[in-house]
Symmetry: C2
Subunit: 162 residues, 2 copies
Amino acid sequence: MRWESLSDEHCSLARTLAVIGDRWTLLILRDAFLRVRRFEDFENSLGIARRVLSERLALLVEHGILSKVPYQERPTRYEYRLTDKGLDLYPALISLVHWGDKHYATKDGPPVLHRHLKCGHDFRSVLTCSQCAKPVHAREVAARASIPASRSRSRRAAASPG
Amino acid sequence: MRWESLSDEHCSLARTLAVIGDRWTLLILRDAFLRVRRFEDFENSLGIARRVLSERLALLVEHGILSKVPYQERPTRYEYRLTDKGLDLYPALISLVHWGDKHYATKDGPPVLHRHLKCGHDFRSVLTCSQCAKPVHAREVAARASIPASRSRSRRAAASPG
DNA sequence: CTTATAAGTCTTGAAAAGGAACTGAGTCAA
DNA sequence: TTGACTCAGTTCCTTTTCAAGACTTATAAG
């Protein structure tokens, strides 16, 4: 299967990964969350090839995850800022970071600490249920195809828990 | 920067993406969460090239995210099952799925519904704080380098909120 | 013997990434 | 008014990875 055709897939994860699932995009977004905004700053921070960076930023803008905002005139130059859609990726991103903290920690502990400004404490992310507000674990979830979805397609839509 | 050198990076996200950050791995893991376990089933479900699938499964086993369990003798054949470390990726995965549901939804609604077995309701994932149990939003978090970490390296470690 | 099954490995051509040099619009300083 | 500098890319060439399908190995069944 060619990668582009992923965006035609029924599965939300496939469609999501068609946009942000390549090797660099999530690292670019991490920097964006850390308030990196300019081309050269992304380049210096990541060590990414300029051609690839340029292409990824354009894709993220095209998908409305970043927006290009002028920060000076003569010559007009733009910086890249997270949109609301981009900010919505935060739970996924921080979950990946905390997974790395947990499973690849060194003796020094996690390299970056995250403080929840509302309560003032360093925290780990906890996945909870929008309905009962309790923590959710992988084996307590049953996935099933929604009815209109199952009418149209997908062989794995009928699969069971996750 | 070469991709392999990512695993030497200080940042947990970089180290995480060095393992699961390629185009296919998260889709393989999604299938694993949906109880796909065998080589041919992954191949049929994903349409992935066999060489790439073989390589990715081996990498996931090497990193302890999947384990290879024999399911028959003569000839001995193995299936791939999520380890506890693999199961820990569920929050990141479901967050990505729900992001896709929200931002690429069709008129039919999300293609797959997730039911929280403990409360019996279809749910969305909510990121909460391990300390105060309240929902966390991107702009309410301040990231900072931990002290031992900042002694060793990283120019972005000093960066601000996320 | 022939076919079938499962889980790979090998080969080949195409696509993407890495890396360095180049471009363009404009500033500043001499 | 020339020359150096800045930022944000673009171009070009090489290296790496990927897609697709044929081939391999171990075994059972007919």
